[in-house]
Amino acid sequence: MSTKLFELLLQASIYTVTISVVSILIGFAIAILLSGMLLSRRSLFVRPAQIFISFFRGVPLLVQLLLIYNLLPVIGVNVPSIVAAIIGLSLCTAAYQAENLRGGFASVPLGLVESAEMVGLTPRQIFRRIKVPIALRLTFPALVNEAILILKASSLVSVVGIVELTRMAQDLAGSTFLPLQLFASAGLIYLVINWLVAFAGSLIENRLPGAPR
C-alpha cells in the first residue's frame, strides 16, 4: 500500500477528530443542562429531559443523522453536512453524558452542599461553584470513555456526506481493492488517536484537584 493512501487516511482523520471534539464539547454543555433538568423536582423539566434521552439513546445514530440531514430541510432549515454531523453527534453524546453526570451530581456529598448553604451561597452559585466541579471530577473517567466511543461512532457521519476516516478507507478500498491493508491502517490511526485521548485524560485526571475520597 502506498504512502499516498496512508496520507489520504490521515487527512480524513482530521474530520474524525474535529467533528468528535466539537461534538463532545457541545454535547457536554447540553448534558449539563439536561442533568440539571433531570435533577430538578419539577416534572415540567424532568419529562422533556427524559424523552430527549430516551430518543437519542434509543434510536440508532445513523437514523438520527439521516433525520437531521434530510428532515430539517422539509421544515425549511437547510443544514450543511458538517453542521448536521455535529448536531447529530452532539445530541447523541449529550444523552449519554447526561446520564453519567446525573450519577455524578447524585454522588456529590450532601454535606458539601449544606456547608455552601451555610456560608450564604445562592442555589445558582452552589450549582456552578460546588456541584458542577465536583460532579465533573467524579464523572471524568466516564467522560473520557464517552469521548472514545464518540470518536469511533463518528464514522457514521459519512451518511450525511462527510468523508471521514472509515469512509475514506471504504472509498479507497472501492478503487484500489486493497480493503485489508486500508482497514488495518485506519484501525491503527483510530488506535493512536484513542490512545492519545486516554493518555491526555489520565494526565488531566491526575492533575484535577480533590478527588473526594
Partner: protein, 250 residues
C-alpha cells in the same frame, strides 16, 4: 417549483453519488474521478451550469435525493422493472450485463457455465443478483450464491478464497481486474440478458423539465460520439446502448 429553472438560476446542478463505485465514481490520489465526473461535465456544458458533487454512502443517497439535497443521482444504477416504478432513469450510459471475476490462474473456470455448483459472490439486493439467479436456473447444477452487503466485501472474500468468483457488471469487474492484475481475472464473455446503467432522478412534475433536459443532453452527447470516447477512456471499449429502456429485462 420547476427544478430546471432553479438549477439554471443558481448556475449549478447538484449531483449526489457514492464514491466507492469504480470506474464510475471513485477516489484516485485523493481526487473524485471516473466516468460520471467526465460525463456530467459534458452535461453541465450542455445545460450551461456548473456541477456540484455531494458524495454519500449508498444508504444515504436516496433519503437525501428525496429531501432535495441534490437534483439527480449519478451512481449509476441498473435499470430494473421495480426501480422504474419509483424513480425516473436517464438514457443508459453503459451496459450492466454481468460477467464473472475469478482468481488469477484459476483453471477450473474458463467460461461462464463453469460456475455451476461453485460458490459465487454477488451484492445483496442488486440487479446483478437477479441476473445471476436466472442464469443459475439454466445450469445443470445450481450456483451456490453468496450475498454480500457490498461488492467490496465479495472481492475480499474472493481474495481470501472463501468463494470461487464474483458476478458483477462487466464494466466494474473489468476495472477490478485491471487494478489488481495478478490477483483477479475476468471470465469472458458476459452472459444472461442485456441490462443497462442509467442515472436516477425523481418522477414528480417539478423534476420533469430537469430530467427531460438531462435526457436531451445525454442523447446529444451520445450522438456526437463524446459518450463513446468517454466509455473507451474508462472501460477500454465502447458499448452500443439504446436511447431509452422502457421495458427492462429484470
Amino acid at each position: 417549483a420547476d427544478t430546471l429553472a432553479a438549477v439554471k438560476a443558481a448556475g449549478t446542478l447538484k449531483v449526489g453519488t457514492e464514491t466507492a463505485f469504480a470506474p464510475f465514481d471513485f477516489i484516485d490520489a485523493g481526487e473524485h474521478v471516473g466516468l460520471n465526473v467526465d460525463l456530467f461535465n459534458e452535461i453541465g456544458k450542455e445545460l450551461g451550469v456548473k456541477i456540484e458533487w455531494v458524495t454519500l454512502p449508498w444508504d444515504g443517497v436516496f433519503p437525501a435525493l428525496e429531501a432535495g439535497k441534490f437534483d439527480v443521482v449519478a451512481g449509476p444504477a441498473t435499470i430494473t422493472k421495480k426501480r422504474i416504478e419509483r424513480y425516473r432513469f436517464t438514457p443508459p450510459l453503459a451496459e450492466a450485463t454481468i460477467a464473472i471475476l475469478k482468481k488469477a490462474g484459476d483453471k477450473t473456470i474458463n467460461k461462464p457455465e463453469d460456475i455451476a455448483g461453485k460458490k459465487i459472490g454477488v451484492g445483496k439486493a442488486t440487479a446483478q443478483l437477479d441476473q445471476l439467479k436466472e442464469f443459475s436456473e439454466t445450469l445443470p447444477t445450481k450456483v451456490d450464491i453468496r450475498e454480500y452487503p457490498a461488492f467490496t466485501e465479495s472481492y475480499a472474500d474472493l481474495a481470501a478464497g472463501r468463494i470461487a468468483g464474483v458476478a458483477n457488471s462487466l464494466p466494474n469487474i473489468a476495472f477490478v481486474a485491471k487494478q489488481r492484475e495478478g490477483t483477479f481475472e475476468v471470465v469472458l464473455p458476459p452472459f444472461g440478458k442485456k441490462s443497462y446503467f442509467g442515472f436516477i432522478g425523481l418522477k414528480d412534475a417539478d423534476h420533469a423539465p430537469l430530467m427531460d433536459a438531462i435526457d436531451a443532453a445525454m442523447l446529444k452527447i451520445k450522438a456526437d460520439g463524446r459518450m463513446a470516447t468517454l466509455q473507451k477512456k474508462w472501460f477500454g471499449a465502447s458499448f452500443d446502448t439504446p436511447d431509452s429502456v422502457k421495458d427492462p429485462a429484470f
